[in-house]
């Protein structure tokens, strides 16, 4: 039955897009700087992955860009600070990681205090508001823990 449906769709496709005769599914799905919005909850992640995998053909590619969770982790741990700076000491004493950083161009502020170790678990729901001058104004985004996503 599935086979017949596919054939029908195939014919429709032939009529509609003559150049796409051999298409069975999408070759490529791309998500440029938007997948991190999906990491609000597990359900959203699942929906997203389902959409992607449903649209992709076998062997298709899923490409995209996201903010690096490695950098976020490093920042949360205060690795960018000089070792002997007072901020660093303060951060070491606190139970949580750095909650806010940035400069005049961009700013990251976690809604809740991030884990000190910089490991985001569970992999979704780590919300921060991101400000990037001229591009993004205080939009809530979510950490995409790369290792968790890859797994």
């Amino acid at each position: 039955m599935g086979q017949r449906r596919r054939v029908r769709i195939h014919i429709m496709r032939l009529l509609l897009h003559r150049k796409l005769t051999f298409i069975l599914s999408f070759d490529v799905v791309s998500m440029m700087f938007c997948m991190h919005y999906a990491f609000e909850s597990e359900q959203k992640c699942r929906n997203m992955l389902r959409n992607v995998s449903g649209a992709l053909k076998k062997g298709g590619r899923f490409i995209g860009t996201i903010p690096s969770s490695d950098v976020i982790s490093a920042r949360v741990q205060g690795k960018h600070m000089p070792a002997d700076s007072p901020e660093k000491e303060k951060l070491d004493k606190s139970e949580h990681g750095l909650q806010e950083w940035g400069n005049s161009i961009y700013r990251v502020r976690f809604a809740e205090e991030p884990p000190k170790a910089g490991v985001f678990r569970p992999p979704w729901g780590w919300r921060y508001s991101f400000f990037l001058e001229e591009a993004v104004e205080e939009v809530p985004e979510y950490v995409v823990p790369w290792e968790a996503f890859r797994a």
Binding site: L16, F26, V29, S30, F33, Y37, N47, G54, K58
Partner: protein
């Protein structure tokens, strides 16, 4: 007769007259703080000039005496009101310059309806006809102050230099009177032109003819004359005359004189304001969920143009870096595994079909256009409908450009422009198969996390 006699007046006589006049006024207890023009008190206020002006009239017309005091004030106001009105009509007239530089009194005097009424009443007392003509005139003048000014000055000149023209003026003496205060405004000009202008005023008080009773207009001349000495800017008149036209020219140009920087600042300011509004709105919808916020943000984002993005943007470096990364990814990873760029036929079967979730405003269209393996069909999905509109526009313009350049042939990147569709949808909460074109291209609903059994079945059946 009077005019002809003027030539015979010697300086001495004039002086005598002036003194006599002065005395008269003082006896009448007129409120004239300063003496006559030549009394050696150069810092004469306008009000004094009005008093001067009134002196002769009173001398001739006793009935007017009572109203003289009010008249001075009303006249003064009158001087202010028409000017102010003309100001409102066209703030760029030279009048403004004069007013600002020459006569502080007028500037402080606000144009009030009461002022005009009192003035007209006073006039009524003295001469109804005159007042009506004056008001009429005023109306005209307010409509075109510049023109009026010219006319008035012309009349004045004629008045002073040419007796015959002065006669024509006799008909509306109070009119001139009413403009006398206004005439102050132009005093500098007059003074600068002919120093002998004083004479007419001196003479006038003595003028025997009834005709000269109406010649209260001379007063206008006086005010002109008197303030002039006090006004430090002897060149004021000339300046107002000379400088005003260029200023006029400048003003319209001001808008165009905004530099790019100023424009950018304005833009920035506007953007800030919009951001403010947006932020408030965002806070309001914060409860409604994140996707709403994200959507709202990208919907509210303004398209500022490519050139701005490349030149004025503060994050142009970051932008180009991001774009470079994205094109690199597209270039490197979009082709199929079996894609061989060296001997790849340009048949349609090898074309890529791309689904772009979160395509935004279609900024990646060109990247896909220049992908090594030609893109045959492109579906853009985004949650922000405004962005999707932008993307559609961009795609259309892309097609137009390529048609124009290549006559419908191959695009600049060597590839024909792919077909594309754009849809608004939230890919995180809804199933992409709901989009008709996506389901046509082919999606398998039986996949994804949490559907492993079906997924295995799919794999087992050999997939699509």
């Amino acid at each position: 007769m009077y005019d002809s006699a003027r030539d015979c007046f010697t300086e001495q006589q004039q002086q005598e007259r002036r003194e006599q006049q002065d005395r008269e006024r003082q006896q009448q207890g007129q409120a004239s703080p300063a003496g006559p023009a030549d009394a050696g008190t150069p810092p004469r206020r306008r009000i004094s000039t009005v008093g001067d002006l009134l002196g002769p009239i009173e001398g001739k017309n006793g009935a007017l005496k009572g109203s003289a005091g009010t008249k001075t004030s009303s006249d003064k106001k009158e001087g202010g009101s028409p000017e102010a009105s003309s100001e409102t009509v066209s703030p760029e007239t030279p009048l403004k310059d004069i007013k600002n530089t020459g006569i502080p009194k007028t500037s402080t005097d606000t144009a009030t309806p009461t002022a005009t009424t009192t003035h007209s009443e006073a006039k009524m007392d003295s001469n109804a006809l005159a007042s009506s003509s004056a008001t009429k005139r005023r109306r005209v003048s307010s409509s075109s102050p510049g023109k009026r000014r010219q006319r008035v000055s012309n009349e004045r000149d004629g008045d002073a230099s040419n007796p015959t023209t002065s006669r024509t003026d006799d008909r509306r003496p109070t009119d001139d009177d009413s403009q006398g205060a206004r005439g102050n405004v132009y005093a500098p000009k007059r003074r600068s032109r002919s120093p002998t202008q004083r004479q007419p005023y001196q003479r006038r008080p003595t003028s025997p003819g009834g005709r000269y009773r109406y010649k209260s207009p001379p007063p206008p001349l006086i005010p002109k004359r008197d303030p002039s000495p006090t006004l430090p800017p002897g060149e004021d008149g000339s300046r107002s005359r000379d400088a005003s036209p260029p200023r006029k020219r400048k003003r319209p140009g001001q808008a165009s004189r905004f530099s790019e920087k100023e424009k950018a600042e304005t833009r920035e300011r506007l953007r800030k304001m919009e951001e403010e509004v947006e932020r408030k709105a965002k806070e309001a919808i914060k409860e409604r969920g994140v996707e709403e916020v994200v959507k709202a943000h990208y919907n509210d984002k303004r398209e500022l143009g490519k050139t701005w993005r490349k030149t004025d943007s503060r994050i142009k470096g970051l932008r180009s870096f991001n774009n470079w990364i994205k094109s690199t990814i597209v270039q490197k990873f979009s082709p199929n595994d079996d894609f061989d760029p060296r001997n790849h036929p340009r048949d349609s079967g090898s074309h890529l079909v791309v689904l772009d979730m979160g395509c935004g405003k279609g900024g990646d269209l060109l990247k896909w256009k220049s992908a090594p393996q030609e893109v045959g069909f492109y579906v853009g999905v985004d949650t922000a409908d405004v962005s999707i509109q932008h993307a559609r526009e961009r795609y259309d313009s892309m097609i137009r450009d390529s048609r124009r350049r290549r006559g419908g042939g191959r695009g600049g990147g060597g590839h024909q422009i792919f077909q594309a569709e754009f849809h608004v949808m939230d890919c995180w909460t809804r199933w992409v198969g709901d989009i008709p074109i996506v389901s046509k291209v082919g999606v398998d609903p039986n996949v994804g996390p949490g559907q492993s059994t079906r997924m295995s079945a799919r794999w087992g059946s050999g997939g699509g």
